[in-house]
Symmetry: C2
Amino acid sequence: MSWRKDHRRPERGYHHGNLKEALLQAALGLIAEKGPAGFTFADAARSAGVSPAAPYRHFRDRDELLASIAQRGFEQFEAELTRAWDDGRPDTVTAFERVGRAYLAFARNEPAYYSAMFESGVPIDVNPMLSAASERAFGIIRAAAERLAALTPPGVARPPALMMALHIWSMSHGIASLFGRGDAARRKLPMSAEDLLEAGVLIYLRGLGFPAERKPSDSATGSESAAEAAPRRGPWGHKSAT
Amino acid sequence: MSWRKDHRRPERGYHHGNLKEALLQAALGLIAEKGPAGFTFADAARSAGVSPAAPYRHFRDRDELLASIAQRGFEQFEAELTRAWDDGRPDTVTAFERVGRAYLAFARNEPAYYSAMFESGVPIDVNPMLSAASERAFGIIRAAAERLAALTPPGVARPPALMMALHIWSMSHGIASLFGRGDAARRKLPMSAEDLLEAGVLIYLRGLGFPAERKPSDSATGSESAAEAAPRRGPWGHKSAT
DNA sequence: TGTACATCAGTGAACGCGCGTTCACTGATGTAC
DNA sequence: TGTACATCAGTGAACGCGCGTTCACTGATGTAC
């Protein structure tokens, strides 16, 4: 087709061409297989098909590789949460619950990223890029909580929006790490993790005055649909599909 | 004092005398230091002052040692939760919140046990003794949730008691693993983990109809104090002591 | 009470292995002129 | 367009290390008689 250099088959001569990326992918695969503690720098090199010394051209050590993966994970996580939140459409509560489901979906679909982010022991604070990425992801949850806080019916005592965000994050993370993944160390559940989280969030929201006393439209944004006022039932009535 | 053999000084001759116990303690200390992934069988032997072959007399391998620690952790955990629950005294809601605090306290005070139990990758299901111990610990939370469920005001939709127990467990575990320990990988919080959990549980309980519509006494047991009816305020009004 | 013997619990030397890391090197690529 | 040279990115051999595990062994303990 084309004779342009960029389109050459990646025949993998002496130079790999994109080893950094290949190492990240290889490590991700190994983490998915054996957990974040179960892969080594040499493993990643072997899996990428290069000599054990090659990774040193791209990462100072294993921790730097792991931190890169965690950072990328947080970025992808943020993107998923942003998409789910969809700026609070069609209404704040619906979007909020969707964020919760997106959280679990990420933990389930990207267990390697998730464990690199939360279970690998990578210190978040010491790496500015990493902690910024982490903050941006949490920022989505926090922004959603702030919109929710602005809607809380008057007269209902509520904590700061930050705290609400932390509650939702904690419950999501707790469910994800106790029940949300397929590995053998997790406990069996008589319901799906998704149903468990949805019910928990619903009860929590009810404790904040939602949706019984919910306003017909979000006065904070003035753009919510009438679906906002539709009555909601807990999901614990129907059997889980899982 | 006494010349009885049992009272001899443990002069550590050829025979250790209590090596199994010593290995468990040594491993516990190493886990506290470096995490459950960061210790080795040889480490434990060295730390207990014996040759690297000695542990094989007591444990098949590192996993069996780790499982023993996790089991012991669950037993101690169960004891703490039982003490905190105190059979629902002086009233169900107060005792329930106390269980939550005990959960966090255990995670904070016994991080080595906690991580062996929940973060070490030990498969719970395949070891009957271990999974039984785990079930007994969770049983305390479930029993508390069942008492709570029996008190739920009529007309308030609520999930099965098992699900309520899982919600509380998940939120507690989420807070403990994200914010509850001192290690560097955890995130900084503008409040204490205890306050965060207490507020979260209060909102959750409010979502179940507590305590606003709470009965003056637990009709389920008929033995609760009048404090049951006292109004409760969220802890988010006062500054955290931390 | 004493003795012979079996069993228990730990020793220490040895092994093979894979890891992290360094090193001089070399093939490939980019660029100045 | 061609050439010389600098730089880049990977090689492969080597090292020291600690781990898991095995092995024949031996000191200590318990017990039958």
